[in-house]
C-alpha cells in the first residue's frame, strides 16, 4: 500500500500513456510531465506568497492577509484565498512599457528568465523514480541552465533605459557570479564522495541507514559545512534577504524590474520564486537526502511528501531570515563571498578528499572536524580584521 502511494504519480503517468500508440508515448509522457511541473510549482508559489506574507506579518506583530477565502462564499480559509485575486489583479493590470525602452529585449527578458528556471526542474528527483530527465550529468545541467538566468537579468536592466534598473542589474549579476562559485564548489564535495553527477544516484547514495539514521551528507563534517555554504549561496542566488540588494526597495526602487508592470512583473515574481524552489530542491537533493526519510522507521511515508516537506521547511527558514535579518552592504556582500565562503569551500573540498581516503572510524571525524573548525576560526578572524568593531557610539543621538 505504502509502495503504491509512493509511486502513484509514476503509475498514473504509465496508465495515461498506455492508451496511446507506441510512437506517441515519449512525446506524450514528456508533455504530461511538463504540465505537471507547470501546475504544481506555480501553485506552491502562490501559496508560498500567502505563507510569506502571513509569516512576516506574524513576526512583525500584525495580521497579514486574513480576509479572502473561497470566492462567493463566507468561508475565509484564514486568508489563503488571497492569491486568486492577486493573480487576477496582476493579469488585468495595464502593461506599461517606457517609451525609451528597447521594446524587443524588454519583452523577451521575463521569458528568458522563466525558461531556464523551468528547465532546471527537469533533473530534480521529486521522489523515487520521479526525475523527469535522468541525465548522466544532471548536476551540471542544473548549474549550466541556472547560470543562464543572469543574461535575462541583464536584458531586463539594460532594456528598461532606467538608471535604477541598470544599477539593479549590475548588482544582481555581480552578486550571482560571485555566489555561484561557492555554490558550485560546495556541490563538488558531494560529487567527489558520491562519485556521480546524476542527481538520482546521489540521492540513492544517501538512502542507507545505520542505527536507524540515514546517511545524509549533511551528517558529516564536510557535508554540514557544504550545506551551510550552499544555503547561504542559494539565498544570494535567489536574491533573498539579507542578499536582496539587487532589488533593495529603499535604495533602487525594485532593481532590474522597476520598469515592469502587470503580467510581466508577475512573471519576474514567479521566476524568482520558482528559481528559489529549484535551488532549494537541489540543496535537498545534494545534502539532505532528497526524497529519503531521516530515520528508518518513517520510510513508509511517500517519498514525494518527504521532498515537499523538506522544501517547505527550508522555504520557512528563508521567510524567517527575510523577516529578521537586515540587508548587507554591497562591499560586505562581495567580501563575504570572496574572502570567507570561497576559501572555506576550497578547504572543504580538501576535507572531503581526506574523508574519502581515511579509514571508516572516529579518527576521520576528528581530523576533518578539526581542519574545518581551524579554517573557520582563521577565516572568520581574517574577515573581521581591520573592521574596528567595538562599542558603537551614536554621536548625534545622545
Amino acid at each position: 500500500m505504502a509502495d503504491k502511494i509512493d509511486q502513484i504519480f509514476v503509475t498514473a503517468l504509465h496508465f495515461l500513456v498506455s492508451y496511446l500508440p507506441e510512437a506517441w508515448r515519449p512525446l506524450a509522457s514528456s508533455l504530461i510531465c511538463i504540465v505537471f511541473i507547470l501546475m504544481v510549482f506555480p501553485l506552491i508559489f502562490s501559496l508560498t506568497t500567502i505563507f510569506e506574507r502571513k509569516g512576516i506579518g506574524r513576526i512583525q506583530n500584525r495580521y497579514g492577509p486574513n480576509r479572502v477565502g473561497i470566492p462567493f462564499t463566507k468561508i475565509r480559509l484564514a486568508g489563503f484565498g488571497q492569491f486568486l485575486p492577486d493573480g487576477v489583479k496582476m493579469l488585468t493590470k495595464e502593461d506599461v512599457v517606457p517609451r525609451a525602452a528597447d521594446q524587443a529585449v524588454h519583452f523577451l527578458a521575463p521569458i528568458v528568465l522563466l525558461i531556464p528556471v523551468l528547465l532546471t526542474y527537469a533533473v530534480l528527483p521529486f521522489g523515487r523514480n520521479m526525475a523527469i530527465a535522468d541525465y548522466d550529468a544532471g548536476l551540471l545541467f542544473f548549474l549550466a541552465v541556472g547560470g543562464a538566468v543572469e543574461i535575462s537579468v541583464f536584458m531586463a536592466g539594460w532594456s528598461s533605459r532606467n538608471k535604477y534598473s541598470l544599477l539593479g542589474a549590475m548588482r544582481a549579476i555581480a552578486q550571482m557570479v560571485s555566489y555561484e562559485i561557492p555554490l558550485i564548489l560546495s556541490g563538488v564535495t558531494v560529487v567527489m564522495i558520491a562519485g556521480t553527477l546524476n542527481l538520482s544516484q546521489i540521492v540513492e547514495h544517501q538512502n542507507q541507514y545505520t542505527y536507524g539514521i540515514a546517511h545524509w551528507f549533511v551528517f558529516t563534517p564536510w557535508g554540514l559545512v557544504g550545506f551551510i555554504l550552499f544555503f547561504i549561496a542559494s539565498l544570494a542566488e535567489s536574491n533573498r534577504s539579507p542578499f536582496d540588494l539587487p532589488e533593495a526597495e529603499s535604495e533602487i526602487i525594485a532593481g532590474y524590474f522597476t520598469e515592469y508592470s502587470g503580467f510581466k512583473f508577475a512573471l519576474f515574481f514567479l521566476g524568482e520564486y520558482l528559481g528559489m524552489f529549484a535551488i532549494i530542491g537541489l540543496g535537498i537533493t545534494l545534502f539532505l537526502g532528497g526524497w529519503t526519510s531521516p530515520v528508518s522507521f518513517l520510510t513508509w511515508i511517500p517519498s514525494w511528501i518527504w521532498f515537499l516537506t523538506k522544501m517547505m521547511a527550508i522555504v520557512f527558514v528563508f521567510i524567517w531570515i527575510r523577516a529578521t535579518l537586515p540587508r548587507l552592504r554591497m562591499d560586505q556582500l562581495m567580501g563575504f563571498a570572496w574572502k570567507f565562503m570561497l576559501p572555506l569551500a576550497l578547504i572543504n573540498i580538501l576535507v572531503a578528499g581526506i574523508w574519502h581516503f581515511m579509514s571508516h572510524d572516529w579518527q576521520r571525524w576528528l581530523v576533518c572536524s578539526a581542519i574545518i573548525f581551524g579554517a573557520y576560526v582563521v577565516l572568520g578572524r581574517g574577515l573581521m580584521a581591520n573592521q574596528k568593531l567595538g562599542k558603537r557610539i551614536y554621536r548625534y543621538a545622545e
Binding site: A144, G147, L197
Partner: protein
C-alpha cells in the same frame, strides 16, 4: 538529418548572422548568446552531454555576460548611423566560402577522421573525468596554472594603488 538538427542549425546560423549584422552592440552580444545556445543544443544532439552543458555554463553563463559588461563599461549604447557592413562584403563571403570548402574537403578526405562513428560509451561523463585525471592530466595542470596566473594578474590590476604622496590628504 533529423528535423531537430535542421531547426537548431538554422537557429545557430541566424544567431551568428545577427551577431555580426545588427546595429546595436548589445543586441549583437545577445544574438551571439543565441548562437552559443544553438551550438550547445547541437552538442547535446550528438550525445555529448558534458560538452553541451559546459558550453552553456561557460559561454552563456560567463562569456556572454563578460562581453555585455565590456560593451557597457567601454562605450555608450548608441548605435552607428551608417551600415555596419563594409562595401566589400561579397569579397569576404567569397573568401570564407573558399576557406570552408578547402577545410571541409581536407577533413573529409583525411585518414585521421574515422568513417564509421564509434559506439557512444555508456557513462560519458565518468570517462571524461577518468581521462582528465590520467591521460590529459598534464594539459589540465598547465591550464590551471595559466588561469591562476591570469587571475592573480587581474587582481593586481584591480588592486587599489598605494599612493604614498596622497596618504591622508583626501578625506
Amino acid at each position: 538529418m533529423s528535423p531537430f538538427f535542421i531547426i537548431t542549425g538554422i537557429v545557430t546560423l541566424l544567431g551568428a548572422v545577427f551577431a555580426m549584422s545588427l546595429r546595436n552592440l548589445v543586441h549583437c552580444a545577445l544574438a551571439m548568446a543565441i548562437a552559443f545556445a544553438g551550438v550547445a543544443a547541437l552538442f547535446l544532439q550528438l550525445g555529448a552531454e558534458f560538452v553541451g552543458f559546459a558550453q552553456i555554463l561557460i559561454y552563456i553563463g560567463a562569456i556572454a555576460i563578460l562581453i555585455v559588461f565590456a560593451i557597457l563599461l567601454t562605450r555608450s549604447g548608441e548605435s552607428p548611423d551608417k551600415s555596419v557592413l563594409t562595401s566589400g562584403w561579397w569579397a569576404g563571403i567569397a573568401v570564407t566560402a573558399m576557406v570552408f570548402t578547402i577545410l571541409g574537403w581536407a577533413v573529409l578526405s583525411s585518414s585521421a577522421v574515422p568513417k564509421e562513428l564509434p559506439a557512444a560509451p555508456a557513462a560519458s561523463v565518468k570517462n571524461v573525468g577518468d581521462l582528465l585525471m590520467t591521460k590529459y592530466v598534464l594539459p589540465l595542470e598547465i591550464v590551471a596554472l595559466v588561469l591562476t596566473a591570469a587571475m592573480i594578474g587581474a587582481v593586481l590590476i584591480a588592486l587599489k594603488e598605494d599612493n604614498k604622496d596622497n596618504a591622508g590628504g583626501q578625506p
